[in-house]
Symmetry: C2
C-alpha cells in the first residue's frame, strides 16, 4: 500500500477540540483508526488521538474517488491524517462529525492486534504488558500517565517555589548507599559497582552547599519480593533540606500532597472521569500517630505486634481500614530505621524518622538525619555495617554538616493514590519487577 | 564542644537579603563560617550561605560572655546560626554588618580542610573532586549548579507549554537500545541486562500513545575515551514527537535554546557575574549547514576529509573557529547515523538526521525517525545489527507507528555553554568518567 508523507500538513485541532461551534470549518486531524463501522452507503471511522476521539463520516456517494479508496483501505490502528469539514449532527454523542476531503495514510497496522484497543474486551495484565506500546494507547492508560505527568509538574513547581534546587546524583555507585537492601551489581569498566537504591548520601552531602535540594528520577532495588507495590526499578521524588527538622519536612510533605491533589483534580477532570476515580483534596495537617499508638490500634483490631518489631503488610491493611486516609507514623524504634535517621535527644530508643501512609500504602518516608560523625559511625556499627566502606561519606562530615532533614516519595505509589489503580504495574510505563525485564 | 540544636530558630533572611535598609532590625541567619579575622578588640566572621556572605562583627566588650566564648570557638566551615542586629556601616563592601546577640554552633569542621574554600588558593580538579562536597561550597560552583537548575526549569516549562508529557522509561534494558556504543552490563537477578544509553526506542514507541513526550534523566555510556566532554554517566534531555519532521523539531530546539539562554540571563545575573561569564541570547533561526558544506569549509581551512567519513574532534575545533556560535549540521551520510534515522526520500545516501553545534561542541543530535518496519529491518542489517534482538521494538511497528522526529541534548554540555566552563567535570556534581567512580 502507498504510504503518504506528512508533507506540509500540520494538525489544526485535537479531536476533543472539534466542536459543533466549528460547523462548516475545515480542520486537519492526525491520529489513529480506533473503530470502523459500515452502514450501507456510509462508512464511520472513529479517529483517536491523545486527547480523545471524533467521528469521521464518509458518505460514499459524496466524497472523491481517492477519499473513498483510502477510507476503504483503512484498518484499526492505521496512523492517518484527515483534512475535512466539521459538521454539526445529532447522530454522534459529541454532536459533531467530520466529512473528509482528503485522507493520508501514514502507516498500516497488523490485522491481528494482540488486544482490543477500545478496552471493551478486557485483556489480562501480562498480555497487556507484552504489547505495552499498544496497551498504552487505551484511553484509560493515557489518562493514568497524564495524571502522573500533571502531579510531577505540580510537585516540581511547588518545590521550585520553596527554593529547592534540582540536582542529578550518580546512579552508578562504589558501595551500598544505605546498606541492607539488595543492590544490582554493575561491571564498571574493570571495577565492580552497584546501582543506587536512593540519592540518600549524596543529597545529604549537598545540603552543605545547596542547602535545599531535590531529585526526581529512577532508582533501583533488587527486591526479591514480587508484590503489587514493589518494583525493582522505580521513580523516587527525593528532597533534603539544611537547618530543618523532621517536623519541618513533614509540614512541607503534607502541603505538597494537598497541592498535588488539588492540581490534578483541577487539571485532569477528563482523565479522572475516564478512570471513574473520585480524588479528594486532603486537609492539612495530616493525622500524626506514634508507632506505639499504631500498635495499640492494631491490638484493638486483634492484631498483636510486640513493641519494636516491624509492621507486616497484612497489619498495614488492617491499619488502613482504621485510618482510611493520609496519616503519619512517627517515633519509630531507632533500630527499625536506617542508620542515618537521628535518634531522639530525650529518648534514643525512639528516632525522628516518619512514614507517610495513605490507607495501607507507604507513600513516603523520611526524618531528621544524623549530623554528627561520631554518632553516625556508632549507628553504622549497630547496624552491622562497616564504617570503612562509608569513609568517603563520613569524610564530608568534617566539612561542616548542618542539621538537616528530608524524605522520599515513591512516584508509582503516589500515582496509585491519584488514579485509584491498585497494581503498581498499571502506573508504570514499562514495569521492571522481579519477573519482568523484556522488552 | 557542646553542639546546639536548631530548637525554635528559623531563618529570617539569607545573607544577601541583609541590606542597609534593615538597619536596627533583628535577623536570624544560618550558614557556615567562611573566614575569621581578628582586629584587637573586634572579631570579624564572614558567614556564608547558599546565596552569598555577610559580615558578623563581634565587638568583644559589647557582647555577652556567651556570644564571646562561642565566637572564639568558631573555625572555618563550622555550621552556625546567628541571631543579631543589622547595622549600617561604611567598613564593609555591602555597607552592612550584623552584631550578634546569640550564636548557635550546629556542627564543627576539621581544622585541616583539603582546600581553601574561598577559592583564593586554587586547587587542582582531582583534589577538588576528591573533596567534592566541600568543593561545591565555593561560590563559583554553587553558581554553576544554580544556572543548570534554572536552565532545566526553563526547558521543562517550555516543553510543558508545547504539550509534551514527561515520561520515565526503563534504565535496565534487555538488549542494546542503539547497538554500537558500549554498554554497562548489569546482573538483573538471574539474567544478564544492560544500562540504557538513551530512551530512544521507548520514546519512539510512546509517540503512538502520548504523541509528544520528553524525559530528563541519567543515561549510561561505557565510553573508552576520556575527554573533556564525555562522561560515562550523563544527563540527557530527550524529546520525541509524533506527526513531525526533523525541521519541526529543529525549530523547537532552536527556540528552546533561545528561551533557556534568555531565562538564565535574566534569573542568574548574580551567578553569571560570579563566573565572569557573558551569556548571549542567540537569534533564531540558527545557521543550517549541510555535511557537504562543512567539508568544504574545512577544506578551505586546510582540513581535508573524504566525503562520507566522520568528522574528528580536531576538525570540529577548526569548524568552531569558522562558525563560532550555534549552527545545525544537516544532510549527513545515512551510513554515518544511527539505524533509526530516516534516509531522505529523494536521495537515500543522505539522511534526515542533524546535529546542533555550539562552536566545536555537539550540544544535541536528532532527526526524523524511520516509521516503516521493513525499512528499519533493512537499516539494522546494514548496520550489522541482528533484527532478532530488536524484535520487541519491531513488533510495536505493527501497532500503527506514526511519522515522528526527536532529539537529545546533553545537559552537561548545555551547562558548559551556559556557564563558560570548559571541562565537563566542572559542571557535573559527582562526575562519573572512565577513571573516576568513587565516592
Amino acid at each position: 500500500m502507498k504510504i503518504d508523507s506528512i508533507g506540509n500538513w500540520r494538525r489544526t485541532h485535537h479531536t476533543v477540540d472539534v466542536k459543533p461551534e466549528l460547523d462548516g470549518q475545515e480542520v486537519t486531524l492526525f491520529g489513529w483508526v480506533q473503530e470502523i463501522r459500515d452502514l450501507g452507503g456510509i462508512r464511520f471511522i472513529i479517529l483517536q488521538d491523545r486527547e480523545g476521539t471524533v467521528q469521521i463520516t464518509v458518505p460514499r456517494k459524496k466524497v472523491s474517488g481517492e477519499v473513498l479508496s483510502k477510507s476503504d483501505a483503512l484498518q484499526k490502528r492505521f496512523s492517518i491524517g484527515v483534512k475535512g469539514t466539521v459538521q454539526k449532527t445529532e447522530i454522534t454523542p459529541r454532536g459533531v462529525e467530520v466529512i473528509p476531503k482528503e485522507i493520508k495514510i501514514f502507516s498500516t497496522a497488523s490485522p491481528q492486534l494482540p488486544m482490543d484497543i477500545t478496552g471493551k474486551v478486557p485483556a489480562n495484565l501480562e498480555v497487556r504488558l507484552d504489547a505495552r506500546a499498544l496497551d498504552l494507547c487505551r484511553e484509560e492508560n493515557i489518562a493514568v500517565f497524564k495524571i502522573q505527568h500533571a502531579a510531577v509538574e505540580a510537585i516540581r513547581s511547588f518545590l521550585f517555589e520553596k527554593g529547592f534546587i534540582e540536582v542529578h546524583t550518580p546512579r552508578i555507585i562504589a558501595s551500598a548507599t544505605e546498606g541492607g537492601a539488595a543492590l544490582f551489581p554493575v561491571n564498571y569498566f574493570e571495577t565492580k559497582a552497584f546501582l543506587a537504591q536512593s540519592p540518600q548520601l549524596y543529597k545529604e552531602q549537598l545540603v552543605m552547599s545547596l542547602e535545599k535540594v531535590f531529585e526526581i528520577g529512577p532508582f533501583f532495588r533488587a527486591e526479591e519480593s514480587h508484590t503489587r507495590r514493589h518494583l525493582s526499578e522505580f521513580v523516587s521524588i527525593d528532597i533534603e533540606q539544611a537547618f530543618a527538622t523532621a517536623e519541618d519536612v513533614m509540614q512541607l510533605l503534607e502541603q505538597l500532597m494537598q497541592h498535588a491533589c488539588k492540581v490534578v483534580k483541577e487539571k485532569c477532570r477528563r482523565e479522572l472521569a475516564t478512570l471513574k476515580h473520585r480524588l479528594e483534596v486532603p486537609e492539612v495537617p495530616f493525622k500524626r500517630l506514634t508507632y506505639t499508638k499504631v500498635l495499640e490500634d492494631l491490638k484493638n483490631e486483634g492484631v498483636e505486634i510486640p513493641w519494636g518489631e516491624d509492621i507486616p503488610t497484612p497489619a498495614f491493611r488492617t491499619l488502613g481500614k482504621v485510618h482510611p486516609y493520609f496519616y503519619f507514623i512517627t517515633d519509630w524504634p531507632t533500630h527499625s530505621k536506617a542508620f542515618y535517621i537521628k535518634p531522639r535527644d530525650d529518648n534514643p530508643e525512639l528516632c525522628e524518622g516518619f512514614d507517610l501512609m495513605w490507607r495501607w500504602i507507604e507513600l513516603s518516608s523520611g526524618g531528621t538525619r544524623i549530623a554528627s560523625k561520631e554518632l553516625l559511625i556508632e549507628r553504622l556499627k549497630e547496624k552491622g555495617l562497616n564504617p570503612e566502606s562509608f569513609k568517603h561519606h563520613l569524610q564530608t562530615f568534617d566539612y561542616g554538616m548542618p542539621p538537616h532533614a528530608g524524605w522520599a516519595i515513591g512516584l508509582e505509589r503516589l500515582t496509585m493514590m491519584l488514579t485509584g489503580k491498585r497494581n503498581i504495574r498499571e502506573v508504570t510505563l514499562y514495569p521492571r519487577d522481579r519477573f519482568r525485564l523484556t522488552p
